[in-house]
Amino acid sequence: MKLTGAQILWEAMVREGVTDIFGYPGGAILPAYDAMLGYPIRHILVRHEQGATHMADGYARASGRVGVAIATSGPGATNMVTGIATAMMDSSPIVCITGQVGSKLIGSDAFQETDITGITLPITKHNYLVTRAEDVAPAVLEAFAVAKSGRPGPVLVDITKDAQQGSCEVDWAAAEPHLTEAYDDALPGDGDYREAVELINAAERPLILAGHGVMLSGAEREILALAEQANIPIAVTLLGIGGVAASHPLNLGMMGMHGEAWVNHAIQEADLLIALGMRFDDRVTGNLKTYAPTARKIHVDIDRAELNKNVRVDVAIAKDLRSALVEWLPHVTRRDRVEWHGRIDALKGDSAVRDIQQLPDDGHLYAAHVINDLWRLTEGNAIVVTDVGQHQMWEAQYYKHERPRSLVTSGGLGTMGFALPAAIGAKIACPDSEVWVVVGDGGFQMTMAELATVAQEQLDVNIAIINNGYLGMVRQWQEFFYGKRYAATPLMNPDFAKLAEAFGIAATTVTKRSDVADAVHAARRVKRAALIDFKVEQEDSVYPMVPAGADLHKMIRRPSPIVETAAD
């Protein structure tokens, strides 16, 4: 039976298990939209194509399944660029389908023509330009295989209008992809598991650095087995949060620029770093010259190009993390490492008294208090989707994630505007989970048009705006490093509660700590979307902070309310 290219597109996606898709129609993708009605696919109409890509991304991160976004040619396709780059930096498997002008018109500057495969070449794992109906099935099936394989990432398939309209027979068996696996064969210089195990067994002060790869590889159980078996504490990256339960006694918390002080000190004092599925981003290392000076290093990453990129390591293993750990575990010896754990406890020092959670609110509404209250009130069970900036760091510090994939956040690219659309994707992927958006007043306004999508799809997404009237993180940098000259950071905001009400979304404004619990309870009670505008302390800063390029242990600390200790 002959199918049109448009039908083949949907047939291929149904075969890939796609049930939900985020998109926005337009001329060049109309044949695909028309054919969509014949397939069991839920289409979520977005308000901007950037939103569609973030939704697909949030969908993928919350569920582990490939997220799919669809848009038309020209501006529809170019609007996807930020979302694609976000997914690329954070290894998120998404497939973007774009319509393209007819194949005869390519290169003629036709209406709504743009070279989207050229534009997205450096920000996709791979992309395809499909000009014949015959090529739709192999391209789409391969796109899903590429998105999921190895280190996941975004793939774009650009399909001309005539390829959607033309028809052909499909041999589905012949259309199956045959990818060369770039990661399967050991190469000279690839570390052997024996070298890794030897270093681990001999280490007195080892530390596991756990990244996003723990979840991408499904190695949550194995990493705990390693830590528990050998009594090794774990530090996590921002995207590694949730891979190890926050309440696990060996989990020290987040490392890096706004990581816990004792974690950064532990890294600097360790004699072995075991880096698992993380990539030594400059936000976690600080000054490379003084980074972990006494530590030998083991690095496991499925992407060989990440090994020895920023930090020179002693054992570099290019391998799927889970299979690497399975190989190690039988050879890792039980050790107590009492001294090292004692030292880490000592490193915690006066952190507790500096912790804003220990401080009375004194009538102020601190963002950190709001987020900590939110954690308590949701019993740590929500999927929290954050934007980028101060609120993101406070979320990472004060919302204790117990489950993998329960924090969805833009790490590598730092994409403001990510939170609301990504949360929509997360909610579609996990309809039974409670989903909270934690977003700043700046980032929220970048993609707040998607409130209409929330309303139209009747999604139960709760939104907490951490509203300090500034582009807060930039303001903090201006305060610390630019003499408090607040160039272009104060914001004049709309009344967010009224705005939400215009979309039929329940909303309230909170200005006092004592009102936080009631507002959160009310938002959770209604089985539809709710928005809370938390008007928080305007000039609060995120502590600790490692200034960009500074030594990891030289952090700016929250001024201690009690006494400065000698260590300061």
Binding site: T117, L129, A182, L288, K289, L307, N308, V311, A316
Partner: protein
């Protein structure tokens, strides 16, 4: 140091762009790049010459492997191999000069492939050194036009070419220590 890669790629539209874009994106300069068919239908072979250190070469190899249409990457820098460049050189030579040029062409085992009243076209194949040298001796006679293919290379015998493997050596970022080395 100059590194030579033989890169086997699927012969699909845009592959050259993908490889070239990778070099640009990762800030490597291509000294020369040639591409042509191989003995296997559907498979093309690129010879890419890059001036980089060992660390850079390993990084490039790792990145090249991540491109979907790239099937194999061989680094033949240290493998015993034959490398050739082809050049067409147009020299303005009349009268006595023409005789001198023809003698030089003989010495270099090059060939004259076109003769006109005012000029000669010389074809030569060889290592880049040899061609550079021929060009230098012809220059006094007036080289009016020249085109070169860039290097093609093939390992000798049946010894498998090496793959460098995991990036090793000193990461450039390791210089560290100042804020200019930090992304933002």
């Amino acid at each position: 140091m100059v590194h030579t890669f033989a890169v086997y790629v699927e012969n699909k539209p845009g592959v050259l762009n993908r490889v070239a874009s990778l070099f640009r994106r990762r800030a490597f300069n291509i000294e020369s790049l040639t591409v042509g068919h191989t003995e296997t239908p559907g498979l093309s072979r690129m010879t890419v010459v890059v001036d980089t250190d060992e660390y850079g070469a390993r990084r490039l190899e790792a990145h090249l492997h991540k491109l979907v249409p790239v099937r194999r990457v061989d680094n033949i820098t240290t493998t015993p191999s034959i490398t050739r460049d082809l050049a067409l050189i147009k020299v303005a030579a009349t009268g006595d000069a023409r005789t001198h040029v023809m003698q030089l062409v003989d010495v270099y085992r090059a060939r004259i492939v076109d003769v006109s009243p005012e000029s000669l076209v010389i074809e030569t194949t060889g290592t880049e050194d040899k061609i550079d040298s021929l060009v230098e001796v012809l220059r006094p006679y007036g080289v009016v036009e020249m085109v070169r293919t860039g290097r093609v290379a093939m390992a000798r015998g049946l010894t498998p070419a090496t793959r460098l493997g995991v990036p090793r050596g000193v990461p450039p970022a390791d210089i560290g220590g100042d804020v200019s080395n930090c992304s933002v």
